[in-house]
Structure formats: C-alpha cells, structure tokens
Amino acid sequence: MTATVPPAIVPTTTVPPATALPRLPDEAACLQTVARLKAAHEPRVVVVGNPNTGKTTLINAVAGTNLKVGNWAGVTVEKREARLSVQGRPLLLLDLPGAYSLSPHTPEELITRTALLDEGPDVILNVLDAGNLERNLYLTLQLMDFHVPVAVALNLVDEAREKGLTVDAAALSRVLGVPVIETVASKGQGTGKLLDTALKGATLGIGVRYPQAIEAAAADLITRMAELPTLPPHAHRYLALALLEGDPSVRGRLSATGHLPLIDAADAHLAALDAEGVDALIEIAEARYARAGDLARVAVPRAEARRTLSERLDRLALHPLLGIPIFLALVLLVFRLTFSVASPFVDLIGGPLQTTLAGWAAAALAWFPLGRDLVVGAIIPGVGTVLSFLPTLLVLYLAMSFLEDSGYMARAAFLMDRIMRGLGLDGRAFIPLILGFGCNVPAVSATRTLERRSDRVVVSMILPFMSCSARLPVYVVFAAALFPRSGSWIVWSMYILGMAVAFAFAWALRRTSFPAEGGGVLLELPPYRFPAWRVLWKHAWRRTASFAKRARTTVLATVAGVWLLLALPAVAGGKFATVAPQDSVFGRVSEAVSPIFAPLGFGNWQATGALVPGFIAKEVVVGTLGQIYLGEQAAAPAPLSLWTGVQGAVIATWDTIKTSVSAIPTVLALPRLGTDTTADQKTPLAQALAAAFTPAAGLAYLVFVLLYTPCIVTVGAIAQEHGRRIAWITVAYQMGIAWGMGFLTYQLARLWM
C-alpha cells in the first residue's frame, strides 16, 4: 500500500443544469464518505447495470484472468469478483447481477439490492447502454439515492452510433455530476482507464428531487433511522424511498429485523399522502423518469430514425408464419451441431483412450490383481463416463450461450409463450425443455432464467422426461433387435411419449404441489448482438468444468459401487472379482428385485440388472446388457507398451479431430429420420435381445428406460439447484411413473402383438 493515495477529485464540471434540482447531500456525510474511500485499505467497487448492457463483457475486459467466479451464498446466481491493483493500489471489483431496478423482481435483482445494502460498497460503477439511456438512467438515479460515490461506464456507444444516435458523454457527466467514461467493452475501448477514473473521480452526483410531500416524508423517516445503528447509514435515503414506494422486499426485511416502528411510520406517511391524492409509487417513478428524460435529451441531443438490424431480423424471426418453423430449425441445427462435432470425441474417450489407459494400468498393476481390477473395472470407466459427457456439454453450452447472448432466446420465449401458458408457465420455460432433448444437465441449469421459484422447480421436475441423447442408443439397439421394420417409428414415439408425460405431469404438479403463482408475464426483447467469442468460450468452459467437478465424485462412487457388487460372490466358493455375474451380489440382488418387473414383461435378473448402471448414464444400459447377455467379462485388456499406447492415442485423437471438423458442413444437411440403417446388421447383442424379449416386453423396457430416474448427474444438478428433497422426490415419482407406464405398455401391447 503506497502512501500516495490520490485524493478524490470532484469534477469541476458538476454544475447542475437548469432543468434539474440539485440534491444537496449532507456535507458532513459527504466528507465522511470521501474519507472512508481514502482510508479503505482495499476499496470495494461494485458494478451495477441493467441486463443486456454488456456488463459481463466489460468485467471480463477489465478484470481478465483475475476474475473469480463462484455462487452467491445459498443461491445459484453467479458471483463474479476480482482482486485487482490499479496504479499499485489494491481494490476489490464485485460484479452484481443485472437489474432493471432496485425493487427486486428476480433473485438476481434481490442479490444486487442486498449487496448494495450489506457489502459496504465504496464506489458504484454503473454500466449504461448508450443506446437506451432513458431506461438505464432510471437505475442510475435510484443508485444515487444511496450515499455512495458513483462513476458511469457508458457502454455500447458504437452500437448507439450505428442506431443513428449522437452520444455526448461529457454533457452527461456535466448534468449527472459524476464521471462518465465511454466504453466499447467488446473491443476493449475505454476499459483501460475505467477503474482508475472511477476510483479517483466517483462522486455522489445529482440525484432526483422528489415532490415536496414525498421529500418531507422521506426526511422524517431518515431522521428516525439515524437512531437505529443497525441500518447502514449509506442506505438511509434509499430505504426511506423504498418504504414510501411500498417495496415489499424492503418492508419484509425491515420487519424481519425488528424495525416495525419504522414501517408503521412509513404507513402513516403513505396514508397521509394518499389522503392528499398523492400515489407515492407513481410520483417517485414519474420524478425519476422526468429527470432521466431530461438527462437523456442532454446526452443524446440528436437521434436519427434509422431502422436497426434488430428490427429487420425480427421481421423474419418473429414472422407470423415463419417464426416458429425458424425456431424449430435452429433447435435442430444446435442438436446436429452438438452431436456431429462432439460425438467423435465422445467415442474417442469412451473407446481407444479408455482401452489404452486400461492397458497401461493393467500392466502397471499386474503384481496387485485386486487393485488392477478396481482401477480397470471401476475407476477408469467411472472417470471415462464423466469425461465422455464433456464434449457434448461443451458444444451444447457454447450453442446455448450463443443463442442467449445474441438475444435470440428472448425471441424464442416470445414465440412459445402461448403454448406454455396452459401449464401456468411462460415462454421462457420452453428453452430448458428443448435443451433437455440434448442433455438434461444443462437444461436443469437453464431453468435459472425463470423468475419464479415454483416455475423453476416444476420445469426441473418434468425435464428428465425429455428424452436426452443418452437414451437414444438404447432405443436404437432394441428397435433393431425387435422391430426391424418400424424402428424409426418406435424411436419417434419414445420422444413423443416423453413429451406427453412431461406435459401431463406439469399439469398435475400445478394442480397439486406447485400452483402457478399469479402475476403478469413480461418478456424483454433486447437488441440482437453478436456475442464476443471470448466470453462465450469462457462461459461454456466454466460451466463444463463445474459439471466435471460436481459429477466426478458421484459417478465414481456409483461405478465403484456397481463394480464391487459385481465382484462380490454371493455363493459359497465364489472368488472375489472372478465370480460370474449371476452369482455375484449384484446378480442375486437383481434377481430378488426382478419380480417387481414381471408385470412389465421383463422380470428376469439380466434386464433388471442392466437398469442399475443406467442410473449413472443411460447409454451404459446397452453396454451392461452386452456384458450380461454375451458374457463379455470386463476382462483385463491386453497390456500395451507405452510407445504403442501413445502412438495409438495420437492417431485416434487426430482421426477424431478430422471427423469432428468434417462433420460441420453436414450439419446443414437435412437430418436423417429414423434408425433403419442399423437394422440390416443384426449384431450378436440384437440376436440375444430378440431371443430374450418379446416385442411387447421390449417396448415396455424402452418405455421404462425413457421414463425412469434420470442419470445420477441430472439428479445431482436438480439437488444443486433446488435441494436434496426435490431431487429425491423426482427420483421417486419417476420410478413410479416409469413402472406404471411400462405396465400399461406391456399389458396393452400384449393385446396387439
């Protein structure tokens, strides 16, 4: 820490314009704030702004690799912070979630508001969209009701100029009374000196002077607050105004902390104002908008009417006839991209890479058979399972972030709102459901875009019925074995059945446990924007990595558990790890459980046993069926020399990259409907399945695989988002529904087949 802390410079240009009445901050408090700023060993700069102002891009540009991403305590909203040094001076940069106002409507806004109250901010860095100043300034003016110095980053100035606006940052600084720095975050313009200017120049600014009756009531409340040491002094004016606005969250917080007399005083003021015909909520909003309008007219003196790219794109994207087909085509494109690009990598990880590693491990541990079997039989496949999810997730997350950040997701919600209404949901809920077809895991985290908790829970609970890509191999194998003629119909009907069950279940949940919360629906349609690749990549990478971290323990434990049960002999004289599957504990337990599935037509231990690893990942069901029916023991692979192994892995990786890249053009081709191609080559497994299952039982088995408990990773994601209780309930009712639907399918199918 250097001794030469720069003094807080009050710009000489803070002469208020004639249109605005200056709020004269209490001078002593002002000096106190400045002193605190100077003395703060590590000043806290909080970054606040409306959604879609390019705030995240700005933070990335400013903080770079110092940015630490975590979660806010107790909620799944991302917390971004960075410890930086500006001209040798340390500071803590804290990015608050996007907010339209400080009267919270979403969990994100509640966090922003709470952080402003509790995190002791020394400077507020307010990010504005230069193209939409009036609305953005509403938040700025609300921020100025706090007693915290403000600096403004006027972002997206390039976009505003393309819209035909003339943006004058100097004029805005003059009328607002705080430093204003023009930035184009996506190109790194203006971001270099941003923090330095904010630290040195931030001032309290010229906020709003509300109508006299309201100012008087606020002043009285502030006087009362002065005697309450528990209320942070920098928030007194904000709290007083929020009480007069009737902000339910502030009232709730104050009453929970024992400030009932304050609420009573506010209510008395509100009653008096009402008697005079003053609606404080409206008067306050109007005063802020009047001032925001004045400020915007000074900052943007000239606006040509120019039709923007967004308007032209929307003409197509929201077209009465083409809008929905375009949306569906885009979804299809995302999935084809995901699977064409990712599946070669998935195959590589699941195949050659694992075999090579297993070979090495087997060779290295030859002297210790038990350890070798554990590593080869459990640990490598376990890690492999987690890894094989990653390419799919990375591509899917990239595509999802692109659609989100570009502004298209908001359009999708607009198009789909009408359909979702019957379920008490709004259009935004359609997106996680669609993503569920790819992989349920990112779909669960996508429920965060929904405002109401009950909506998030309902969507997460029905999501696993959407047939994710991991279930497809099971359908394909069974369709080829049992229904060689109508395979594609079988596969399609699984998807449709999953959706039907999901919708029916949402309807039922709404009528029982999670009634739709009332309240209107408001969808913002932000301008289209080409997202910065760096930000997209960072997002996708971080989400994927956090998935890997979360999944590895559960998946490893489950795989090791299954391996152990398969290795433990249940018969006298059986030897550990070499026992035949049907004589293992696993086999015996499966056998004991299997009568439960007799009414579904597959009450044998083989079919039942294969469902168990399906908890880990549903595509494993096929592998396990193979192991059981064909007696393929998980025999130790032949040991490879180090060199052959490396060679093999390099060649395989290169082939993978080639396949993956060459798949990109074919993504644009029409999708192949159906899976009949697999029918002509009846594999040994298909033959075994055809012998073991009647068509009716096979169909029931597929229905069960479609509907039963999602993979353990999805359960983990649901637990993380909504708590263990909801996760367990989901597991339980899905088992029940899967059984019931399997039973119905088998009994009905028997009548026809």
């Binding site: 609305r135 198009l415 209107g520 629906v521």
Partner: protein
C-alpha cells in the same frame, strides 16, 4: 380520441399512457420500465399465435400478454 386500453391498439399504432390499473400485477415493473403518465407506447407486433404482444416504450422492446394490456389505459 378517447381513452382505450392498450389491447385495443393494432400493430403499428401508438398511444400515450394515461394510467395503470392499481391492481395490475406488473404495475411496479411497468412503471420502472417507463410506463409513466404521458409516455408513448407503440404496439409493434403480435406473436404468431396472437399473443403475447410486443410493445415499444422509450428505447425498450418488451412483450406482455394481452390480458396484461387490459389494465393499461392510453389515449392518442
């Protein structure tokens, strides 16, 4: 020239806000987004299935359901 509720406007038409129903479920948020007295609101388009409705107020484009337009009174 009389007062109407916002749902009566056709795409492309604009009007000025008179007031929001006191019981409007989105009253607070709409005020914050600029639905204050005198503000100009334009109906941009309706969604393919007729609902929701895209509106433009200030520089903001947003969509509301037709049922939520009933509580917004406007005049030319």
């Amino acid at each position: 020239m009389g007062e109407r509720t916002l749902d009566a406007l056709n795409p492309g038409e604009a009007a000025h806000v008179v007031d929001l129903d006191r019981l409007h479920p989105l009253r607070r948020r709409l005020l914050e987004l600029g639905f204050v007295r005198g503000a100009r609101v334009m109906v941009v388009r309706r969604a393919p299935m007729g609902d929701p409705v895209e509106l433009r107020v200030g520089g903001t484009d947003l969509a509301l359901r037709a049922s939520d337009l009933l509580g917004i009174r406007v005049r030319e």
